[in-house]
Subunit: 453 residues, 4 copies
């Protein structure tokens, strides 16, 4: 490869690597060769698209940033903000920076914060929105939760669009996850149908970090910090008794990002279980057999399991919440409790007793103040959302890709999902860190993977 | 632009943006058009270099990762580790993960940790290196500092290379900053001259985040978290009195990365001063005139200054430390103290007294335990360093570029510097966050900028 | 009153206080007058017992501290340490300070740390105790859990005493709760029976703070700090939705100390439920009626419940653990889950839906590193335990009373229990802070209260 | 001793204790016997004064708490609050709880928060006080500093008393230190002279913990937690280099409480220097000789010095601040800098170089959010202050003595000082923890000690 940044090697490589756990993985780089990294794999120095790219145009995102010419007259515009879905560290940072950027940088004077999610925007609602003045938002970034209030589920889009008209909103910021982005997309369509000129800009929020085309969602760093604290505690418990097992359940209904990152942050975890990598509990090669061996050899074990690891637990009762999401949190079907019981029963029966401590930090990981890293990220997201909206961009969310801020069309977002890719560097690092073997699983085929990380 | 991820806009943009502070900036994207972002600016979706890139090969880094065929036989190899320069959060995480990856994943049995930097590697030293066994490294990641010890300055490279021979080291990991990378580069050359087959792999460490071709150095996230705490305290002090000024000095001899990021993390800072953006203290348009106006209008002010902001303070006495770096920390020439006195004198003289509280968290920002985010990063850096070394790569450091791990040749690294680019998104975000004006400066020309972020 | 420190009042008090919630309380000071504090109630300036107290000797504890003449010859003594029962923040601080005081201050050279609780002391055990050298204990105070390991339940006292003889232990430190103190008491008796001269000194440890004659047990401050974090999260969740209920379950099987103190530390809790103050869920004046009213009026509520609040939940299945303690943690009988279901059912049925978020920090409150305050306390407890043991004191624990360190005979300790006194200042402060009403309860009589705080 | 709680000893004590460092101390208990603790020293079980104490009345404080009959009619009363002097963790907790107790428990409707200390109460001031409504105080406890603002120095008491009359204040809460209590005392006298019926109640606030007749002032626990963080960082720095010295300067102009407690919380400090225990730097038996020996033996050292340790540094320039307090913080006379230079010069000259890292957390220790422990304490202090004021108590502060809340007359408070007693358990524990020798000092006599702890 004639690329600019050459590196040097000592000589011929003639020894086969002992890293057996890499074998099943396909890095896909380059050309999908199976396993391991090739020397001619490269990372582009410059990831900005050349302006007048001649013929072949690679896939790219529109760059976010302040536009020289804008669509809305700041003096006449009314902005609205909605936070929907679950809470997440940093929402208040986003709210504050949206308000500050609009008011102090652009000169927008009317900024309405609708209460309790889309319910407060509904034309039939009796809630009066907050005016997001400087005094109102000054200190909200020191607190968790959402200052505006949130709710799950959305009512008829017509009522929401009528709400926009009622309050004269020209620019709407929707801070939320999948469901919120779907609502934003529909509101945009409805507004267009009605001939309303409303810019609808999404700020992606999900504690699970599972929004496609976004490097990392805000609040994630904070969630990992709190999750590490829970893992530290479980580690202390596990090491403090003979044959101690520390079990920590972390959020992640469909994606194991919190579980994998918290595992890596800890360094001490011995097994990490996520929905994307199925495993069997019993039998040879199963999780319990490994745990048995680990306890015999090392006298304690530390296990992290993601909320959505329901494979292998048949007959799991399923409930839906108001947004139509699966509710995993009821005790009966809670994976943490199921796994805990499975482990306890296994050792109880075997005569080799283990002492298990179970920690479920649950909402603690999502309701605390944003870490410094997250605070910076929230601020940048908010300001880029304002730049986009003032320029008249609509039906988009503000994303981050390879550490650059971008605009991503909502239909692209809604057509994909993001999961932990079991062939990625991320999962490879988890295996290196934990030393866990590939657990046996009868259903190795994976589906619905689209965007990997 | 025909790129894949299209976005939609409401219509023609005909209003000129009021964001005056963007004007002087050149985003350089695309085609170096002055100021603001263009709609046809894009961010590439895929940043991996195509394998058989036909004709035009863009600049790229070699991809880090485990190689299928390796150079060293794990059973016969002796590894050595050195930590040099100042401490940084996460060094112990790196040490632990290097040891774990070498021993448990590759099967390397002899891992030597040299004491107190290169001094311990010197063939004339009487220090016995630590054997980095599992028991020795198990819990070191819960502490700050460097478990091995460090020192500044390096002796003659010949003595160090002789030290490698004395201890039979085949693979050397050097964890450090500029000076350390220079030493690694020289050791590699000397070893080659002697016909020794030694792989020398650097892990970049600098609290200031100023190593080129690396997204972010480890420990930086932790430093920002601690710096934010200091800023929070200064903010509380400033708001608690009439005409209160909170002044926080942060590390950064040549680069203002800590100051800028901590400013953004806080949201509350009113002015951020960094070496890359010169400013004058006195006179109209100077910093003190702004501060005067701010106190009159808002009754308190919060200011962050980077260590290296010595412009404008003439007659600054200069000392050098053992590594030949400028020592800024002596009180006489300390920028924090100089600025504090300048402010106090200004208001004392004017009859409009201000109450200033000065906080210098100094070494606190670099000696604490790594945050979760940093811990993950340290672990990945360490493992990639091991993969590189076992594959026989030498004279490189393990970098991260656009969130991918890379190999970067040390001569490339040593030939560049990394600074805050005053035309970058980063500095633009600082201006948006603080609302600070461009302070007058007589010497606007900038030099030695090479790699921007 | 002619006491030394006089205070002044403005004049006659003729208005009846509106503090109705004080009415049912009996402060007992002085002379058991019902309710409120009298002006002639006083707090003694000096609480040290006069040395040659002539005739009437008030109840007092023996003062802890270094004795001039000691019983054991430091050069010949063998010390042993056991940690038993659940973990608690600060155990490692205690272990470290015991070892440092023994070795560096007294010159004791042989200090054995028995593994995994009393099981490791059992003469039949194959576990080899740790030698607690300076190197071994140097950094253990930076971690949670117990470095030695612990276990629940004790085997036959004869085997333990035989274990003391086997290892030649002259001085035994037992760090633990109720069960551990009972074991220590029995070991002391057995050793005396055998004519062994062994000093058995207890260091009281219980996360629940329910050991009598001890102001506050170590680790409690840390537990409260973590519990406050959980409450902060629940508060953010509750405020972030319309009709949000944050419910936090905290440890405390029999005593509500963690729940009350965490409630006070938060300032934001609206109701605190503890085992010592029975309440009814349903009916007028019950908890649910109050919650209904609170949500209608304020749109959110924050509730803390102690683990042991099982009254009102009939048919609660009871299990015992290895130490014979009631296990409340199984989901079926878990008070947090029971209360959560009761609340959800209540509002589900009523048509006035509430959104409840449940947080159970469980083991997180007891497995983290000790706070600064706790670390100081642990250090002092440990050193006083060493002073006592070296002086030949036995069958005692080291306590703290009115901020003085004391010796308390184990039979006194074992004959009493410590609970939150519903007539105390502590509970009064909880009522002032939460504003909660006295909930109706049919069984107001309380039993087994002995020592109040 | 026939006291109730008997303890048992193994037998005759015939060995002299090796604890030589106890020798110079006088525990004073009982009967002033020199050194060590006697077996017949006791701690009273009950510290409440018997109500109808017959003849001999021991010294005692009046008990704080809600009175049944009160002086002011809540519906007609106007309350005022002033915060003065430096900030301290927990001030906002105190403000919030005063407001909540007054409004929600007593029904007081008019609560005025004067801005920026006594300056805002001055009848000539143009500042409008805040109305402390529920909305205003709701979230202030999550922040450091003082929500009301503060200032140093007080103007003529007549103007302040006239301010009380101007705003119709019946009840004044003054939150502050020495100077504030003196002002409160004078305001009370002036108001009495004018025939005004105003209750003036102080809440003692000082980060240095040096207010007499108060166990511990609020914010102290938080200060220690932050100080420990600084010490942890200095420890990591010191251990990370050969012959590393970590030096931490902590607040404490006259009293070494922060330095001693932070030393104990860390466990890692090797020498703690406080104003109450003079020491010489040079010469045999001096501090530098000890440091030399320590570095030779252990290769690193960790030293804590209190701000007020100016003895031994002759020619220290002295400045006074607006309250007439000595300003130690200017660099020239800063003890931390002086000590640092002394150490560096000593080793520079000797040819045995040491690497010193100096950390001065300064205002960080006093401007952060209150810890859980402090938050509880602040809440209780505030509520007791309200009880006292509503009952018409005046010219007092609310104190805590042996963990009971008390009323202390301000003239008693102003007539005494509180210092670390070098013969106390506290200092003894410091010596046990650090292992530091008694440094030589030529001026061993101490003065102005009155109240010890």
């Amino acid at each position: 490869m004639s690329a600019r940044f050459a590196t040097r090697s000592l000589g011929e490589r003639s020894i086969r690597s002992p890293l057996s756990f890499v074998a099943p993985f396909v890095h896909g780089l380059p050309d999908g060769a199976p396993g391991f990294t090739h020397d001619d794999a490269g990372v582009l120095y410059d990831i900005e698209l050349p302006r007048h790219a001649s013929h072949v145009v690679p896939r790219a995102f529109e760059r976010a940033g302040p536009r020289e010419m804008i669509f809305f007259d700041p003096k006449k515009v009314t902005a609205g903000v909605v936070t929907a879905g679950g809470v997440c560290p940093g929402i208040n940072n986003v709210l504050r920076s949206i308000a500050v950027e609009l008011r102090h940088r652009y000169g927008v004077e009317r900024i309405l914060g609708f209460r309790y999610g889309f319910a407060g925007l509904d034309v039939r609602s009796s809630e009066i929105p907050f005016e997001l003045t400087t005094d109102v938002v000054r200190d909200i970034h020191s607190r968790g939760g959402t200052f505006l209030g949130t709710s799950r589920g959305i009512c008829d889009v017509e009522f929401l669009t009528a709400g926009l008209a009622k309050w004269g909103v020209d620019v709407l910021f929707t801070i939320g996850g999948d469901g919120t982005m779907r609502a934003a997309h529909m509101i945009d369509a409805e507004a267009r149908k009605r001939g309303m000129r409303v810019a609808v800009v999404g700020v992606p929020k999900t504690i699970d970090n599972d929004i496609p085309f976004v490097d990392k969602t805000f609040g994630f760093d904070t969630a990992i910090a709190t999750a590490r604290m829970a893992i530290d505690a479980a580690h202390a418990e596990a090491r403090s008794v003979d044959r101690g097992v520390g079990l920590v359940k972390l959020m992640g209904r469909h994606a194991g990002f919190i579980a994998t990152h918290a595992t890596l942050a800890s360094h001490d975890v011995n097994a990490c279980l996520i929905p994307e990598v199925p495993f069997e509990l019993g039998g040879p090669g199963g999780f319990l057999a490994w745990l048995d061996e680990r306890l015999a050899r090392r006298r304690h074990a530390l296990v992290v399991v993601a909320e959505g690891c329901s494979k292998g637990f048949e007959g799991l009762p399923v409930e839906l919440d108001a947004s139509g999401n699966v509710r995993f949190n009821t005790e009966a079907g809670d994976v943490g409790h199921l796994l805990r019981h499975a482990i306890e029963q296994h050792f109880e029966g075997s005569g080799r007793k283990a002492t298990l401590k179970y920690i479920d930090p649950s909402y603690m990981v999502r309701a605390l103040r944003a870490t410094a890293e997250d605070a910076i990220f929230c601020d940048a997201l908010a300001r880029h959302a304002v730049h986009a909206a003032m320029a008249g961009k609509t039906d988009i969310l503000v994303g981050r890709w390879h550490r650059r801020f971008t605009h991503v069309g909502l239909d692209d977002v809604l057509a994909h999902v993001k999961r932990v890719d079991p062939t990625s560097d991320l999962w490879c690092q988890v295996l290196e860190s934990t030393g866990q073997p590939p657990f046996r699983n009868s259903t190795s085929e994976r589906s619905e993977r689209a965007v990997v990380k």
